[in-house]
């Protein structure tokens, strides 16, 4: 029933702005914009994908290299999400709760992955961990392969998704009522209990949001991964690179199955997230 309430709110402020902000026009513009920019291209792909019937879509998905690329993509993205959730939350916590020299620099660095072209990300990783660098030589002489192997893929995904968890947790931590923590502490809770019972529940939705966004971003990542992964079919070829290969070898039909699977995966994660958040909100209320 929140919908109705929001409605009256809009109308209230709109009245003050006069007809320019007529709620109907505004809503139509917003819906039309999202539809034009996002829903329409997805619809075009779906029409193409299902145009030849579900059978050929299924056939294109059933190929071993297609399935493998999807599996690899999801596993790599999940590995990234685990690291991102722990380290992103920790980073946000440190940035909010502590003061230290260079803090604002660190805070600025966090947004940098959004600005760096992903191809450059891949190149940076190859320069750092590739066989021409001291780090790369040290690692490979100890039997650790990073570039052109799976760790390289996770590193690339971590780089491009680093801002998501930090930036969604930060504002929540900032708004956290510290009196609650102090109250819990005076009631005898140790720091671990305070963390588990007070802090985690309040930041959990934000952490999940960050995790879901980074997962969705990661499964479609192409530019950086294609450079660091090695791209050997059934070994280091992720889904986006598989799709690219099929399109390049004039088999767009072969690419459609995996494309639709990626899209559906992303969509599912985002829907799950919004469901979880809705449950969380109704519990609060």
């Amino acid at each position: 029933m929140g919908f109705g309430r929001k409605n009256t709110d809009t109308r209230g402020s709109a009245a003050r702005y006069g007809d320019l902000g007529s709620p109907f026009v505004l809503r139509a513009i917003a819906v039309g914009y999202v539809g034009l920019m996002i829903a329409l291209p997805i619809l075009a792909l779906s029409v193409r994908a299902f145009g030849d019937g579900l059978g050929s879509l299924w056939d294109s998905l059933r190929r071993p290299d297609a399935l493998y690329s999807l599996e690899l993509t999801v596993v790599m993205a999940l590995a990234m999400v685990v690291v991102n959730v722990v380290m992103g939350t920790l980073t946000a916590w440190v940035l909010i709760r502590y003061r230290f020299p260079g803090q604002s620099l660190v805070n600025t660095l966090i947004d940098l992955p959004f600005a760096v072209p992903t191809v450059v990300t891949g190149l940076m990783l190859v320069i750092l961990y590739g066989p021409q660098s001291a780090v790369g030589r040290f690692l490979s002489s100890n039997g650790v392969e990073v570039i052109y192997a799976k760790p390289g893929i996770v590193l690339a995904l971590l780089f491009v998704t680093l801002p998501f968890v930090v930036r969604s947790v930060q504002p929540v931590l900032m708004g956290l009522d510290r009196e609650m923590e102090e109250a819990a502490a005076t009631l005898g809770a140790n720091r671990w209990v305070v963390f588990r019972k007070v802090i985690v529940p309040s930041i959990l939705p934000a952490v999940l949001t960050g995790a879901a966004l980074s997962f969705s971003r990661a499964i479609g990542e192409f530019g950086s991964v294609v450079i660091v992964a090695g791209n050997i079919p059934m070994r280091t070829q992720v889904a986006s690179v598989f799709i690219y290969g099929e399109i390049e070898s004039d088999n767009p039909q072969g690419a459609l199955g995996v494309s639709v699977a990626l899209l559906a995966g992303s969509l599912l994660v985002l829907i799950l997230l919004s469901l979880l958040q809705r449950i969380g909100r109704s519990r609060d209320a």
């Binding site: 003050r16 190929r63 090695g230």
Partner: protein
Amino acid sequence: MARYEYDRGIVARSILATGVVLVSLIIGLSSCGGEKKGQGGSMVDRLVLAAYTVPKEAYEKEIIPAFQKEWQRKTGRQLVVEQSYEASGAQARAVAGGFEADVVALSLEGDVDKVTQAGLITHDWKANPSRGIITRSVVAIGYRAGNPKNIRDWQDLTRDDVEVIYPNPKTSGGAMWCVNAIYGAGLKTSEAARGKADSVQARELLKQVQRRVKVMDKSGRESVTTFERGIGDALVTYENELLLRKLQGREIPFVVPDATMLIENPAAVVDRNADKHGVRELAEAFVAFLHTDEAQRAFARYGFRPVSPQIAAEFEDAYPTPPLLFDIEYLGGWTKVRVGLYGPEGVWTQITYELARDQ
């Protein structure tokens, strides 16, 4: 209330301003496009060339300047050549999809066929002495300075201590030349030894080499870069690419195996676009120029093997013919190769599955 009214003015005005800017941008951009297309009246002729990336240096530095001079001498008109360089397959798709190039120069026949299938090339572009081919090369194996792994032939690429780099035949039409070369070499050597081409042996050779492949880049050019970054012991690529590096002072030593693939690169006038732009004569003159001795010599200086027999004879010392050289017809032509090697049931595709299972 007064304040809100003031705000409303700002909002309305900025919307108006944005609108004006957008509209003028759109008008400006579309009129630019119009200018590009228009030919008549001006003293400048325009030709749009869509090429693959490998011969870029040869076109930019020698072929196009020479043709511009020739055109000016013949017609008294200036010539601007708008050049686009892309991976061959991507370029073919772009032209087929509406990029209005007057001439295409691509890595393989199959890519020109894509443009033909889109209905854009209506003449028989192979109806000339060199069958539409303007440059040749062979598939070669690059190795590290001093050849520490002692790489001399395809068989050496199957060894456990050798890491191999070549591009992905799914993304790079040019990479198909490389994989074709390995498979074909298996056929050719067995044929030389026992009088009959043995497809089982060829398949095994390809599988054992593929097993040693460490990185498969999107394009041939990228594979060379990866190799230069210190990855891999052997690089399978085109001879001309390796010769170009030498020209640029970044030599990668290489060997041309006895049994290897003859690479043939075509060029053709795109009839529909040339007619639409009214530049048929110019486009045909350009493609004809690519076959002249002058252009063939320029290509040869940039590492390509000349097509014209006279010029090939001139450069014989630089480009000795490998004893077991074979061309695409030996493998049954492009149509057969595309399905037989790279299709879902193709040899290469199945090998990648098998290698994953074996691990």
